[in-house]
């Protein structure tokens, strides 16, 4: 919005029966000027399902363009996460129920499939039979979990479901000696820490699926189906009821909505989608272990939903895609380093204005890095004895710019803590002070990244997920595509 706008013309007095706020809806919406604005208006005219269909078609071409098994595998995993986020979106985004036991249903789906289609119990059911059974079973389980919670408000529901999720992990882990109240002998149900191996591949009524491509397309079809079902439900009476529940459950109840029943249905719906996802997971991996259904998975799915925007179907697709692909890229230190510096630079380009300051910050950072490098390496030669995580031009630059001590562990840990404090301090400063303080902070960040974070990618990924949740909630709670207001009930 530009500041030098003329005073808007005085509007006629509002008509009787038309709320002024509602009537002026079109004017209030933020309109971008120029080409971007026109593109935005045109895009808004396209019906939403067309976008989803477009995504489906685009995704279907992935195995056509590449034969690389790793990429298709990542695509498959991303589709699984999309399905998970889709189910969570129903529970959290539409109905506003904070379900922290969500991945337990995913686990139930996976273990359910594994039990019914593996040598474990000698059962080899047809997949077309297993999927409905598992989906219905997880939906019923969702109902059962939600039943004691239906009177509970937000946080209580969160804690009950969190407990439930933990309880299920315990059951999976110790399921190799389940006995009835300690009276009977221990039965082996879930294989305990060994999981269930040798699970059958999908067998859809005679159509055996064993290749990665096959699973990719199965997952894609499942996802598109689930997406359209959720879309239709969202547009229906139930969908609108859920949203009214989310906005104000008390008012919804006053309007005569069956609040308790709506909550239960949302819970069961989300659980069923998670169960369906679990069967796919078990089918491709041909083995299931309890560790895949623990808190980290839950937090990752939440990060996807929040990043994309709770309550938005497009957000689910986008969030899962961004988070899962980034997590995959972060596995390889070489790629991760590139991403780190590109994101850093992009953030500076977007956030630091005017250009003069941008030049000062970037120039100052580079200069400070070289200066510190020169001084410290002259004083302690061992401070440059380490290795960079990336080769080529960037590696040579980094080697001259950032210190790489021979034994970076301890100093890396200390600087990691200092870096967190520095970033927190940065949020307290304003104006030129903040911009100046950025210079040493970025140098410090580069040092910590090179010497500590990139060395342990598996933990760094999880740390970043935590940071994403905190930063997004503080800076942009609606995520990339979500609606501004999602309330829990």
């Amino acid at each position: 919005m530009d500041g030098g706008k003329d005073i808007p013309p005085v509007r006629a007095a509002p008509q009787v029966g038309v709320d002024e706020w509602v009537a002026s809806h079109g004017e209030r919406r933020e309109q971008r000027a120029g080409v971007l604005g026109r593109v935005q208006t045109e895009l808004e005219r396209v019906p939403r399902p067309a976008f989803y269909l477009g995504f489906g078609i685009a995704a279907a071409f992935l195995p056509v363009f590449t034969n690389n098994g790793y990429i298709i595998r990542v695509g498959f995993d991303t589709l699984l996460y999309m399905l998970l986020a889709l189910g969570l979106n129903v529970v959290v985004g539409y109905a506003g129920l904070l379900d922290l036991g969500y991945v337990a249903f995913y686990g139930v789906g996976a273990f359910g499939y594994a039990m019914l289609a593996s040598p474990k119990f000698g059962l080899h059911w047809d997949t077309l039979l297993i999927i409905p059974v598992v989906v219905v079973a997880t939906a019923i389980l969702g109902l059962l979990v939600a039943l004691p919670s239906r009177r509970l408000v937000g946080d209580y529901l969160a804690i009950v479901t969190l407990f439930f999720g933990q309880f299920f992990v315990t059951v999976y882990q110790n399921g190799n000696h389940i006995s009835v109240l300690g009276l009977t002998r221990g039965y082996d149900v879930t294989g305990g820490p060994n999981g269930i191996p040798n699970v059958d591949n999908f067998d859809l009524g005679g159509l055996k699926i064993s290749s990665l491509q096959g699973y990719f397309y199965t997952a894609l079809i499942f996802f598109m189906l689930a997406l359209f079902i959720v879309y239709l439900v969202d547009q229906s009476r139930t969908g609108r009821a859920w949203k009214s529940l989310r906005e104000d459950s008390l008012a919804a109840e006053m309007m005569g909505m069956p609040v308790a029943r709506l909550k239960l249905v949302a819970f069961a719906f989300g659980a069923a989608i998670a169960g369906l996802t679990g069967t796919l997971f078990a089918g491709l991996n041909t083995a299931v272990f309890s560790a895949d259904f623990d808190v980290p998975t839950l937090i990752i799915v939440y990060a996807m939903l929040i990043l994309g925007g709770a309550g938005s179907l497009g957000g689910v697709i986008l969030g899962a895609l961004v988070v899962n692909v980034s997590l995959e890229v972060l596995r390889t230190p070489g790629h991760a380093t590139w991403i780190f510096y590109v994101v850093l630079l992009a953030t500076l380009l977007v956030k630091v204005r005017p250009w003069k300051w941008l030049a000062i910050v970037i120039g100052g950072t580079v200069g400070l890095g070289y200066a510190v490098h020169a001084i410290v390496s002259a004083a302690w030669p061992s401070s440059v004895g380490g290795q960079t995580s990336v080769g080529a031009t960037l590696g040579r630059f980094l080697h001259g710019w950032v210190l790489h001590p021979t034994n970076p562990r301890i100093v890396g840990n200390i600087t990691f803590v200092i870096l967190i404090l520095a970033i927190l301090g940065l949020t307290l400063l304003h104006g030129w002070q903040r911009r100046l303080a950025m210079i040493p902070t970025i140098c410090l960040a580069a040092f910590v990244w090179e010497n500590r974070l990139v060395v342990e990618p598996s933990i760094t990924r999880l740390i970043l997920i935590g940071v994403i949740l905190i930063v997004l909630m503080n800076a942009r709670p609606q995520g990339l595509l979500g609606s501004a207001r999602v309330e829990i009930v």
Binding site: D155, Y156, T170, I306, M473, P477
Partner: protein
């Protein structure tokens, strides 16, 4: 009846219950004032435990401490409570403060993020493995920490006595603070009605900061108790402890301080007896069952009063 087992589990339950009670107090205080479920609270307990361990290591390690034991205990508590308290205040300042008027889901998810961040940052810095140390023997100490033997051949260590006595001291101090001081009065007022308290001239921000500091300092002290009585510290220990402590707070009536202590003891005893008599793997399920039962029968907790929701 096996008295040995019974008394062993009883003492273990009381010790464990004291730790849960202290964590639950912090949960309850923060919840009472902000209506926020601070998932990161359990991780402050973890940090407190690591600070305690760091102090032990600073003085030569658990098996060979070369300072006066009272001095070392004092240092452990001072460092862990101060460290925990400051961490709590920082979390409030940087993660929660901007979200006070946001929809309730925003601070909850932020709390999840903070908890996840702390856990993994601790793993990065300290390593994921459990740090356990066998026993305490303080050669230069005036009292041996080995303890004494109760009837029925039950061994009670001095560490357990320190835990129980320390909890009593802290709870009494907290009660006096909340009941007798001006800040305590302000805390109760803010907890009762934040807006009205602000209108009466109470500095709400200040009260919230004090609450976070005290609650987190108690969690830090609980971490030291864990340090001296269980000899086991690891980065993910805060998760389950936080879960159990929250259950304790709910069972006792959230926002109610005596209720939290009662709930903590109850959960500790339930856990210990289920480990002793049923199965160690499913003690979590027992605690979960208690939580569900309390929520169904008496959602406001044992000592809490029912809240009437006003439109």
């Amino acid at each position: 009846m096996n008295w040995n087992l019974f008394v062993t589990e009883l003492t273990a339950g009381i010790t464990h219950g004291c730790v849960y009670a202290l964590i639950a107090l912090g949960y309850s205080m923060v919840y009472g004032i902000l209506k926020l479920l601070n998932f990161a609270h359990g991780d402050i307990y973890m940090v407190g435990s690591f600070i305690g361990l760091a102090i032990i290591n600073l003085f030569g390690g658990a098996t060979n401490v070369h300072v006066n034991v009272v001095l070392m205990l004092f240092l452990m508590f001072a460092a862990a409570m101060l460290g925990g308290g400051l961490l709590g205040v920082m979390i409030e300042r940087f993660a929660y403060r901007r979200l006070r008027s946001a929809p309730r889901i925003a601070p909850l998810i932020t709390a999840l993020g903070v908890s996840f961040f702390l856990e993994n940052a601790a793993q990065l810095i300290l390593g994921a493995q459990q740090q356990s140390y066998n026993s305490f023997s303080w050669p230069s100490s005036p009292i041996a920490l080995n303890g004494f033997v109760l009837p029925a051949q039950v061994h009670v260590s001095y560490a357990q006595i320190i835990v129980v006595a320390g909890t009593i001291v802290l709870v009494v101090a907290l009660t006096l603070f909340v009941q007798r001081t001006q800040t305590g009065k302000a805390m109760r007022a803010v907890s009762f009605d934040r807006e009205a308290a602000a209108m009466m001239g109470i500095d709400v921000d200040h009260v919230i900061v004090v609450t976070f500091f005290i609650g987190s300092a108690l969690a830090g002290a609980a971490g030291v108790f864990n340090c001296i009585s269980y000899q086991q510290v690891f980065p993910t220990m805060g998760f389950q402890a936080g879960l159990f402590a929250f259950t304790a707070a709910v069972v006792g009536g959230i926002g109610n301080l005596p209720g939290s202590v009662l709930g903590g003891l109850l959960i500790g005893l339930a856990e210990a007896f289920s480990i002793g008599y049923i199965s160690s793997t499913f003690s979590q399920a027992i605690v979960f069952a208690i939580l569900i039962a309390v929520m169904l029968v008496r959602p406001s907790g044992l000592l809490g009063r029912a809240v009437v929701q006003k439109v």
